[in-house]
């Protein structure tokens, strides 16, 4: 909150010298979002957004209510009240094809130690489970088995009817922070510094019992694991508080690659590292990943990094993409990357191939730091190589969206309707392509004219 104040205050006087933060100014020709709609319904921090279908999404946050919105019009469709405390996880429960009930369901977990199943079409509370020992922090749906798992201090397996199928013993007091599904009926849970692999035993001919077995614990991370995502069919990736990124083989759970130091602070900071850490304790924690076929995009502290899976190296980065920690990133189809941050802004980046020959203005300061960073610690052999051929790509800032007055927690991208952001200032903002909206309005207008019989087309 305070951070953007400072950042915002600095912005007008070109702060290029003062801070390495890249700014774009007021002229943003590539930024398509020229219209916004502020949606107000929440009374506290809005932390989660989840897409329901092509035009609807649900938002949830610390006020315990879930709101279903129309992404096109910004209309509030439903307000789901049921939780008494803040919502800690939300996930859609896709209906099965065979299932007669076609309504879209969502699951929400809350700090009041309940999980509620909602019908998003009617706003009905379908079912409520309140037998949890601890707050459920993450939810995952295994659609293949038509079951869902809840992760708190232990891991529970539920079927669609909300029968508890099986559960693990108490895992830790901090609880499971992330869960993903991997092949062979396994799930990976991030518990503190550990990754635990569980296997689900499905009912077979002999036993009708479900069971969940701990298979393996992976202890490669030095600090708490903050993010855990599936990258593709072959690997998943984890990121920790101290900036370690490990890419795992999804089948045998071995480390495929790890990056942990390239985003370390530059050497001259060594002396004053204490202070530095005090100032920005989250500076290098990995908050979020996103991926496409070739790359993993990591939100590391205030920066953005693009890690190429094939080259196994970072191909582009923005060391200070934001004034404050980046909380969520997403890759758009058109080589664009969107990031949102605690500083209250959302930025749109484009991954560009760097033309080595073209005399492009190079942010020198950044490269120097990069070089020093390489020298700094263990990774000594690739230093020269790195310096010779610097990252082949670059992240260019093509636009920023300023609207929230506090940390932007998450955003959701709709192909047709634009971008939805939610924030700690209790607001949700719908960012739209003004031109397209204008066209849509015209379309509507002429449709209405036609309906009223007022449209006279000349021959």
């Amino acid at each position: 909150m305070l951070r953007w104040l400072i950042g915002g205050g600095r912005e007008p006087q070109g702060l290029a010298e003062k801070s390495p933060l890249q700014t774009i100014g007021e002229e943003q020709t590539q930024n398509p979002y020229t219209e916004l709609l502020v949606l107000k319904a929440h009374h506290d921090i809005v932390r989660f957004l989840v897409q329901l279908d092509e035009y609807r999404f649900a938002s949830a946050g610390d006020d315990g209510i879930v709101v279903v919105w129309n992404a096109q019009t910004g209309e509030k469709l439903l307000e789901l009240n049921g939780h008494t405390q803040k919502i800690t996880a939300i996930i859609t429960f896709p209906s099965l094809e065979v299932c007669e009930e076609k309504n879209q369901l969502i699951l929400t977990a809350s700090a009041d130690r309940t999980v509620i199943v909602w019908d998003c079409d009617t706003g009905r509370q379908v079912q409520k489970v309140s037998c949890f020992q601890s707050t459920v922090k993450c939810l995952i749906v295994l659609q293949r088995l038509d079951i869902w798992l809840s992760g708190g201090n232990d891991l529970c397996v539920w079927n669609r009817k909300l029968d508890l199928l099986c559960k693990t013993s108490h895992l830790s007091d901090t609880g499971i922070s992330a869960l993903i599904e991997i092949p062979k009926n396994c799930v990976v849970a991030a518990v503190g510094k550990e990754l635990i692999i569980f296997r689900l035993v499905t009912p077979t001919g002999e036993s009708l019992e479900w069971d969940i077995l701990e298979i393996k614990r992976l202890l490669d991370h030095q600090d708490n694991i903050l993010s855990l995502v599936n990258v593709n069919d072959l690997s998943f990736v984890t990121g920790s508080h101290v900036g370690e990124m490990i890419i795992w083989n999804i089948l045998d759970w071995t480390v495929q690659a790890r990056e942990c130091n390239f985003w370390d602070p530059s050497p001259q900071l060594d002396t004053q590292q204490e202070i530095k850490l005090c100032q920005k304790p989250n500076d290098i924690s990995i908050h979020h990943f996103t991926w496409d076929e070739e790359n993993v995009f990591a939100a590391v502290g205030r920066g953005l990094y693009v890690y190429n899976l094939q080259m196994k190296r970072v191909i582009a980065c923005q060391k200070t993409a934001h004034d404050s920690s980046v909380l969520h990133i997403a890759k758009l189809p058109n080589r664009q990357l969107i990031s949102c941050s605690e500083d209250g802004s959302v930025r749109i980046w484009e991954l560009r191939e760097k033309q080595q020959l073209a005399a492009e203005p190079v942010p020198t300061g950044f490269f120097n730091m990069w070089g020093f960073g390489r020298v700094n610690k263990q990774a000594s052999q690739p230093v020269k190589k790195q310096q010779e051929n610097a990252p082949p790509c670059s992240l260019e800032l093509i636009g920023d969206l300023i609207g929230h007055s506090s940390s932007v927690e998450m955003f959701l991208y709709f192909e047709d309707h634009g971008l939805v952001t939610c924030s700690a200032d209790h607001l949700i903002i719908l960012w739209k392509n003004g031109e397209r909206e204008s066209g849509l309005r015209s379309l509507k207008l002429f449709q209405k004219l036609e309906e009223n019989g007022d449209l006279h087309l000349a021959v």
Partner: protein
């Protein structure tokens, strides 16, 4: 009875239609200097010279069964309004012409008294000796104690202008019908209540008598009845009869609504009137019925008393006052309606007609008029007006009666004379055409079907794209508007071209053909003055002064007559200041302010100093107290220098009396335009705090003030254009300053440029001291922000700079403006800092006219199908975009940023049109990523 020599009975429209009506509503005196009363020092606008009262008023009289005709009250309740006019005499006159008044009684065939539900009668009456003409609306109210249960009343609109009454007959009739309906509804309620009480009394009496008879019966066993007993029995019988009678009456009065609706079906000749009534019923029915319901069910316990069976019909008892006759609530409502009528018909006839046309035209623009018009209460009135409009009523007559007659040429005249600076007429025309246009939305046809806009395009086309510089393009558009006025397209209008238009045609011709110096001498448009002349501008146009003078006169005419129409009761306090101006001059003890608290019936009742009346004594006390309250305000009126030579009424702009002299005087005073405006407008503007009605619908005075301040702003700040552009293009303008009054003043002034999102509220926030939020920019387009010097205030400034892309920031303290560049031609026309316009209201009108023109451009742009949707499938989005751009540029003649203004307005139009119901949807915040610049003085 009483002779009524000058009675003209008009109950039907046709009758006065037949009367040869030769006199144009525009006073001849305006163009002909030979004004009959000129020698008496009256101004040409004073049609009232012959009359003994200073302006129109409403009189309510009663034909009292005790004392005969007597005036009850006047609206405005102010002795100086009717002056020496003999109300008693006039009451006698008007009460003597109730042709229809029929009395209730025992009709031959019926056993019980029947209530007669009499339709109101409406007559026009004149008294040439008194110089008074009146629309008289007779009505009867029921009173159980009155003879035949009825009391005849009448409401009269008294004016010195016969033509006004004649021409406005329909409107007057409609409005007075409402008032009458209100009174009668209240009266029925009260009457029913009275009957109920009476019935209870009778019932009680019967019971008592009955028991007494029983006792007597028991007491004497002698077998014969004493005379006492017989008397009792008789009395009992008469009580019984009385009960039945009263029950019947109650049934009749309760069945009224039913009967009325039946009646309305029968007399279709009266449709219009009935419709009004129906309206009235529709509007009041809900509270009415519920009120009725609870009246008959849960009336507060009434303790019956013993009464005499025979009602006393003696003359010594006090008759009920009007307020008692009608329910207090309804009475108050009626008074409000009457004072609304008084406001509504205030001013000269030609002003009334013009503003009616104005509104009618505005009404036709139902798609665009929400953008800049203040529609809150005009709207509903328009609905009624349309119902009672001539076209509907009398098919034999050309639909646009009011258009055919005087008013339009009149407008033309004023335009002809000051065309250069204010282009109001063409716009009015174009609105009507715009509507036709809307029916055939087609780009290619535009150039042939040609409202004003197309002239623009035509003009642009003729010149091709030779426009070498922007200034020339400005010229082009200005010229084209004048070219328009002679265009053939006007044939489609029923309005004959007045000579003045031809004159202006000539002017514009020359403007086109000859060089700028020549232009200077013929046309005062400053857009045409070359730069070198601009510096010495005031002296350079000296020779033109007389011309300018004339046009000023015309402007004044328009300007000063505008006020009252929109002045609603709620604007009372503003109106007050106005009336105080008079009172200060004519040493009136009471001011119009007495009129304000209509909600309290006490004050509106008869004035102690006023007329005879059947005055309830207790009111007097209150009235006095009230005077004291207002004494303080009266003590400090501001007196105009220019005003002293004139009788009070001449200065009251609401009476359309701004004279040529006044305008001249003020013109002289204006030689230094930056300050010291000595007109009524400025004095009031200085006095009335802008905070009085920050968000309410702006009255005329409000507009005048806003116009004045906007004019000041334009003259004072060289960067007014980009600021206004920001407002027009929907970019929020934040006015930053320390002094609340100054900020508020400027915000009010600038709000005239802010397009509305819907009909309900202007997106203007006059004063905020907390840091702004993104939602504020979505909601407000003009914000007054407090600059706080404390560290806490830094937050507000930080947010401001954070959201700088959504805002333009006008810093009043350091006199800077931060906003995007503006290079269009529209705003310079809208806000020329060298404009000749001196008056706030004139400038306001100028702004309105330019904006209306802009609205029609936006309208055209929005509703051209092929601009927004492909004509066929193969058309790409790019093609559409280029078509849009070329339409904006070539057809609408817009340059650079002007396009964005029209595009923004088009978006608003789309949103408004699509929404169901209009104006309810979320406003979206639209913005552009354009760089801002810092402007300094």
């Amino acid at each position: 009875m009483i002779s009524a020599p000058d009675v003209v009975a008009f109950t039907k429209e046709e009758e006065y239609e037949e009367e040869p009506y030769n006199e144009p509503a525009l006073p001849e005196e305006y163009s002909v200097p030979l004004f009959p009363f000129a020698s008496q020092g009256a101004n040409p606008w004073s049609r009232l010279s012959g009359a003994k009262f200073s302006r129109d008023f409403i009189l309510i009289s009663e034909f009292s069964e005790q004392v005969g005709p007597q005036p009850l009250l006047t609206i405005p309740n102010d002795t100086k309004v009717f002056g020496t006019f003999d109300l008693n005499y006039f009451s006698l006159r008007i009460m003597s012409v109730d042709y229809q008044a029929s009395f209730v009684g025992h009709p031959p065939g019926s056993a019980y008294p029947k209530l007669n539900f009499v339709e109101d009668s409406k007559v026009v009456l004149g008294d040439s000796k008194e110089g008074a003409f009146a629309y008289v609306h007779h009505l009867t109210l029921y009173d159980l104690e009155a003879r035949g249960f009825v009391r005849p009343f009448c409401m009269a609109y008294i004016s010195a202008d016969q033509h006004k009454i004649m021409q406005q007959f329909q409107e007057l009739s409609a409005e007075f019908s409402k008032a009458s309906e209100c009174l009668k509804t209240g009266n029925r309620k009260a009457f029913a209540g009275e009957l109920e009480k009476k019935l209870k009394d009778l019932d009680y009496t019967r019971t008592v008598l009955h028991t007494e008879t029983e006792i007597q019966k028991k007491a004497n066993d002698k077998g014969f009845y004493s005379s006492q007993a017989i008397e009792k029995a008789n009395e009992l019988a008469s009580v019984e009869k009385s009960i039945i009678e009263h029950q019947d009456l109650l049934k009749q009065i309760l069945s009224y609504p039913h009967r009325k609706s039946k009646g309305s079906a029968l007399c279709s000749a009266e449709t219009e009137h009935v419709q009004d009534q129906a309206d009235q019923v529709a509007t009041t029915s809900n509270p009415d019925e519920s009120a009725d319901a609870d009246l008959y069910t849960c009336r507060p316990a009434y303790t019956p008393k013993l009464i005499k069976a025979k009602s006393t019909k003696c003359f010594d008892k006090k008759l009920k006052t009007l307020e008692e006759l009608c329910d207090t609530e309804y009475f108050t409502q009626t008074l409000a309606q009457l004072s609304h009528i008084e406001h509504m018909f205030r001013g000269d006839l030609c002003y009334l007609l013009t503003s009616q046309i104005d509104r009618a035209l505005l009404k036709q623009q139902h798609i665009t008029n929400f953008l800049f018009e203040d529609f809150v209460e005009v709207d509903d009135r328009m609905v009624e007006r349309q119902e009672s409009a001539p076209p509907k009523r009398s098919p034999g007559r050309p639909p646009s009666r009011s258009l055919d007659e005087c008013p339009i040429p009149q407008v033309f005249i004023s335009v002809g004379s000051y065309k250069s600076s204010v282009e109001s007429v063409p716009i009015k025309m174009e609105q009507e055409l715009g509507d036709e246009e809307y029916k055939e939305v087609e780009v290619t046809e535009l150039s042939s079907s040609d409202p004003q806009e197309n002239l623009d395009c035509l003009d642009m086309d003729m010149k091709g794209s030779i426009s070498s510089g922007e200034s020339i393009e400005v010229l082009g558009t200005e010229k084209s508007t004048s070219v328009l006025s002679k265009s053939d397209s006007q044939a489609s209008l029923t309005v004959p071209l007045s000579p003045q238009v031809v004159r202006s045609k000539a002017v514009s011709h020359r403007t086109i053909s000859e060089d700028s110096i020549e232009v200077l001498s013929t046309c005062p448009s400053e857009a045409l003055i070359p730069d070198d002349f601009k510096a010495s501008y005031p002296s350079a146009i000296n020779e033109e002064e007389s011309y300018a003078d004339d046009s000023e006169g015309a402007i004044h005419f328009q300007a000063s007559i505008s006020p009252p129409e929109l002045g609603e009761a709620e604007e009372g306090s503003l109106e007050n200041t106005l009336s105080q101006t008079d009172s200060s001059c004519c040493i009136g003890k009471e001011s119009d302010s007495l009129r304000v608290p209509l909600s309290t019936p006490a004050h509106t009742h008869s004035d102690p100093d006023g007329v005879v009346s059947s005055p309830p004594q207790r009111y007097r006390q209150k009235d006095q107290g009230f005077h004291v309250d207002f004494a303080g305000e009266n003590a400090s009126p501001s007196r105009d220098n220019s005003s002293e030579g004139f009788p009070a009424f001449e200065l009251d702009p609401s009476r359309l009396l701004a004279s040529r002299d006044v305008s001249k005087t003020s013109l002289d005073n204006y030689s230094d335009t930056t300050s010291n405006m000595s007109s009524i407008a400025s004095t009031s503007s200085d006095r009335t705090p802008s905070s009085a009605h920050p968000t309410g619908p702006s009255s005329e005075r409000h507009k005048k003030r806003a116009g004045q301040n906007a004019l000041k702003f334009i003259r004072q700040y060289p960067f007014a254009h980009p600021a206004i552009y920001s407002l027009l293009s929907g970019r929020t303008l934040v006015v930053l300053g320390e002094d609340e009054a100054i900020v508020r003043k400027l915000v009010t002034a600038l709000s005239i440029f802010v397009p509305n999102h819907s009909r309900h509220a202007k997106p203007v926030k006059h004063w905020v001291s907390s840091p702004l939020h993104i939602t504020d920019f979505q909601k407000w387009k003009l914000i007054g922000l407090q600059r706080v010097t404390s560290p806490a205030g830094a937050g507000a400034l930080h947010t401001l700079s954070r959201y700088s892309r959504y805002t333009s920031i006008l810093d009043l303290d350091s006199k800077t403006l931060r906003c995007p560049l503006y290079r269009g031609a529209l705003v310079p026309r809208l806000a020329d800092h060298r404009t000749h316009i001196k008056r706030g209201s004139t400038y306001y009108l100028h702004v309105q006219s330019v904006l209306t023109q802009l609205c029609s451009k936006a309208f055209l742009y929005t509703f051209c199908h092929h601009l927004h949707l492909p004509a066929h499938d193969r058309e790409t989005e790019e093609l559409l975009a280029s078509r849009r751009a070329s339409f904006l540029k070539l057809n609408l003649g817009l340059v650079n940023e002007d396009m964005k203004v029209v595009q923004y307005l088009a978006e608003l139009l789309k949103l408004h049109y699509v929404q169901e119901p209009p104006g309810t949807g979320h406003p979206t915040l639209r913005f552009d990523y354009v760089p801002s610049f810092l402007y300094k003085i």
